[in-house]
Structure formats: C-alpha cells, structure tokens
Symmetry: C3
Subunit: 138 residues, 3 copies
C-alpha cells in the first residue's frame, strides 16, 4: 500500500462547469492500484468541485444559473466588494459546493456511476488557472 | 492495513431522507478494523448523502421541504426538462448536498456523534434503487 | 503507514465562523507524516465545517449573513421548533455545508492553498463546545 500525490492544473474561461474526469482517470489508471481511495482537493475558495450528470450539458448550465440566482452579484448587503462584484458570490457558491471529493477505486478505476462526471465549478468571471491536488492511497 | 470495499443498495419510495446508518455500521463492524477511515459514495446525481439529526423525524421533513422551496420544480428557466419536472431540481439539490461522506473509525466503530444519522437523500418522485460504494481502510 | 486519530474541542460563542487551522496544523506537524490524508469530522448537526478565505474577515461575515437569509429563523413552515428558533435553521445550514473535510498531506503539511483557512461554522446562538475527530493516514 502506498500514497501517491499529483498536482493538476485546470484552466477556466469564466463562470461555469469544466469537466476533468478524463485527466483524473488517466492519472489514476497510471498508478496501477486495484483498490483504494482517491481524493481531489482544490486549492481555492472562489472555485469548487462538483460531481454532476455528464450526459445533457443543459444540466450544468441550469446548475450554474441556479447559483447565479441564489447568490447574486451586486447584493448591496455584501461587505467584501474590493475584489470585484463576482468575488463574494464566488465564496458563497464555493461554500455551498465542495472543496474536496473522495472516490473509491474498485477494479483499478474510480467507482463513478454511469452518468457521473467530475467538474471544476468556476465562480469568477475572468479566466483562471486552478490548482488541484490529487491523493491516492492504494 | 487493508482496503475493503462493499456495494450497498438502498431502495427509496419517492422524495425524502432514508436512514441507513445501521446497514453501514453492520458492515463496518464485520470488518474488524479498530482504527480507520470509512468512505460512502453514491453513484447518482439525482440522489445524495447527508448526515443529519436522528432524533426528531421532523428535522428530515423540514430539511426536505427547504430543498423543495429553494430549488422548486417547474421553474420556467430550467432548460433540462426532458427527464421530468423533478429531474433538474434533483441535480441542484444533489449539488447542494454530498456525493460522498468520510467518517473516521475509532474503537472499531464510526465516530458519529450521538445525534448523527446517515441518510440517502432521494430527490426523484418515483421509487429508485440507489447504489452506494463503501470503502474502508483500516 | 499508520492511522492516527485525535479529538479536538472548539469552543464557540454564538453564530459565526471560527478558524482552527493552526490547531489542526500543529497536530498534523507533530505526527511526522510526509505524505498522507487528513480527515476532519465534526460530531454535530447544528454546526459544520467550511474551508474559506482567511484574508479579509468580511468574507466570513458575508457568508454567515447569506446563510441567515437563505434559511431564516422563525419560518412558520418549520415543524421542528421545540429546541429553539435557531435549531432548524442550524440543521439546514449544516446540510448545505460540510460535516467532514479531507485534505491531502504533501511535504509534511496540509496542501491548503495560500488563502484557505479551516473553520467551524457555528449555527446556534448560545456558546457551544464542538467536538471534532481528526484522522490521519500517512
């Protein structure tokens, strides 16, 4: 049994969900662990992680719209405005979703359901480079 | 130290929270690990996992109602409607809760607080069979 | 490779976010594990865990305000009222945030981003002693 870690960069181009299941699957496959536990950790508080349906892209658009409505920009009650109108909503949306995901490894692969994809949920308007840390014990 | 995995099916009968703490505790107990980490992963994006109060059943009813209000059915802004009016709200509610839970094992048992129960949160209206993957390292 | 567990108490003084990154970092550092996985688990359903920005304290205030608005006290639709007007909102807010966090250990330290802090999110109005279980495999 061994620990393996890896750093992954995901480039985003504004708000929305960015799939990166393939990048993770490729790294996991290369480690050759039959059974184990994978953890994905995002080193940011204005972007987050979600597992969502990978079939109809409208699901991701509707999901992003929901978060836009529930934690809107320019709410006059926000104190934290100095980093732009999209920053405080970003922190709220990150707080409502995930900073980390853990997925069991079974038979050498992530035990995802058929329709599950892994996404970076970018909450800022400008393009960003998001750093993820992968950890596998197996 | 060893990895153990197990597949668990939880049958649901429409929207709501379904406790399954006992099923998990039974499997964990049978593994005989004194110390470790348990991870529960649900292979769906229209049902999710939550840890909630196990004492007053009204808590689960109020929690379900809250999610019904915050991400209602039949919002005319949803694009993804082809799988039924309860499907897009399901994805949102799953996005707001958990796809996985990790719980330390201490003294051979899950280190849950006295009032904590583990639930499948079903978001679809029709009965479903939900598949969970358990992973224990210990 | 070994499992280590530790119990940590965080005292809160009413609603809000309480940083405890240092306490966790001190315990992790003392374990001497170069690589591993840390899991933090809170044994309560009316307080929760979040990773948020550690720079501008207004972020935590705005975040707490958001949860106050989205799941307000005294909603006449709540059934569960016998433990006080702040109890049911607490369960909802805990359901929307985290009961556990897992963070990879790289180079002997938690792989947190520069601006990430770890917080107990207290949802009750009265002071509480919150029990956290830390688990490290490394």
């Amino acid at each position: 049994m061994a620990h393996r870690t890896h750093q992954l960069e995901v480039r985003t181009r504004g708000k929305g969900l960015y799939p990166f299941t393939r990048d993770v699957a490729a790294w996991v496959g290369a480690q050759g662990a039959a059974t184990g536990l994978l953890t994905i950790f995002i080193q940011h508080t204005s972007a987050s992680l979600v597992i969502q349906e990978n079939a109809d892209p409208d699901v991701c658009l509707d999901l992003a719209d929901f978060f836009e409505r529930i934690a809107p920009e320019n709410d006059p009650r926000y104190r934290h405005t100095m980093e732009g109108s999209d920053d405080m909503p970003s922190h709220i949306r990150a707080g409502l979703t995930q900073t980390h995901l853990s997925i069991p490894i079974v038979g050498g692969r992530m035990a995802l359901g058929t329709w599950q994809g892994i996404y970076v949920f970018e909450h800022r308007s400008a393009p960003q480079r998001r750093t993820l840390v992968l950890h596998l014990i197996g």
